[in-house]
Amino acid sequence: MTNSVITGIVATFDRDNIDTDQIIPTEYLKSIKKFGFGDFLFDGWRYLDEGRLDMTSEDRSKNHDFILNKEPFTNAEILLARDNFGCGSSREHAVWALRDFGFKAVIASSFGDIFYNNCFKNSVLPIKLSKEEINHLFKISNSSSVNFQIDLQRKDLKFGDDSSYSFDVKDSLLDRIINNLDDVDITLRHKSDIEIFEQARRNQRPWLFDYTS
């Protein structure tokens, strides 16, 4: 299965430094599962009450001013934010929550490094654009609901009939999303290289392999 085009409704979050604690609060990190986090996405902003892992969106008192509680954004697939999106904690649960809600792409002027890496492991595409481009996208998205179309092969983002921005992303990372690749499988193709490296290290730096506490 390949995922090469993303088309969807854009939800805007007009602030910098949206940290992973906002994307999913700590309470939900107690889950030992890898799925089922969509109802807790942006929990502190999305609900008026405090939630627990065994609750669903239906059980909660919603903040109706929050964008993801308004139509048509309950079906948003593309998130537009400002600077340093996904900073803070390394929790991959943040990406799992975005993915489980239905987000396929996040557009921002910069991202937290760890969050950015985590995205590609979970088929969520982070797109970096300049601040000017982000400003323009906010202008056209704030007034009404819009759809963007993202072509992963061509690396461009269409936001109007004739308007588009191209974006830069490493092909190898993009490839993981397009072809649903798993890093462990890819790396284990180099098993013997790792074994040879490790043996050399064992000889050269023996204290690293000699430790008992």
Partner: protein, 466 residues
Amino acid sequence: MPVTLYDKLWDEHLVETDDTNESLIYIDRHYLHEVTSPQAFEGLRHKQLKPWRLDANVATPDHNVPTDRGDSFNAASIEDEVAKIQVLELDKNCNNFGIHQFDITSNKQGIVHVMGPELGYTLPGMTIVCGDSHTSTHGAFGCLAMGIGTSEVEHVLATQCLKITKLKNMLINFNGHPQRGVTSKDIVLHLIKLIGTAGGTGHAIEFSGSYISSASMESRMTICNMAIEAGAKVGLAGVDETTLGYVKKHSNLSDSMFSKASEYWQTLKSDPDANFDQTINIDVSKIKPQVTWGTSPEMTIDFDADIPSQEDINEANHENLLLAKSYMGLDDSKTLQDLSFDRIFIGSCTNSRIEDLRDAASAVKGKKISKDITEAIVVPGSGMVKAQAEEEGLDKIFLDAGFLWRDPGCSMCLGMNPDQLKPYERCASTSNRNFEGRQGNLGRTHLMSPLMAALTAVNGKITDPS
């Protein structure tokens, strides 16, 4: 060509680079905890894989564990059912896969970034990863250490490697002597204020200069710990006599192995004239005690400065500042001294080491916490720190002053255990993140040094620590 410390460590651990410029980096040490590992172990089981090298891994539960455990506590004693399942899951995974764990009953259990170095699991020159962004802490030992996501935890377990691209190099020179009452925490908060929480994004930050040379390992760890709050997933400092002295004391290496290793470890510093993509020089003697006012670590001011007002708010940061002021309940407050505090938290992987507890104890000795403070807790970073503090009588000083003296864990730094703020409570905290809801739903966090937090406990307000 002169080489930076980060580049030396990178080259030392480089297995191979592919044609897309992604590299396999060999990982020497992998720390695990209960929160970001279950899905990684599940992935191994699903793929029918075993950990590549068992002795590279060390585990401990720290994030969600209660801190009022007392004697004869075990995982089954945890009241929060979901937290209990997670701790038991770590027990199960470590037992099934054969990974060494300091479990909840161990007297060495602690916050993984406090426990690791003091048990000698962190050695200079290592690559170190953990599913926790504060893994940068270990960079204080001349290590290439960084936080990773759970997919990468699985990848490291399965392959002993991380697949990453190289970071840029940034150098921060901290020179000079700090003023009285100014600690490593103030210095790193000042840096974050200066360069912002995205200032170090895409970079490894090396900390150097005369202040770092004279700083203890504990202080260096505090600074490297918060590199991630400046956007850098890697923070590090060169190896010197202070590093070697600490490692000699804390590792179990034989004398002959230690001296063999030391020869190599002493090369772990940036070469003179090594090229950095960015260099920033900071005179630490000009830094005042720092306290955060807002909901991002960059929202930091001198403890006696004015909180940004309407006039300071320009168009670019308008929305962020207004949201932060409103969340923090600061609409009518001009300075931090105007604020009344409810709670005090001394702990976290940033500030729960013995030096931090000594600092805090010095400010409360013979005093009582203010009647306005509803709860003040001290959470030592590890079983070893707790035992050392008790040997020095620090526990008595805190208890006499009205603090609660707890068992090791991450505690109120992230409020994943029962230690949480109630809505609108204001907390003086020695932790690392003042994000909305971080310490409890609608809680208000002000980050500061252990000394400042202890003084705030006594006075109920921010006061001058000099």
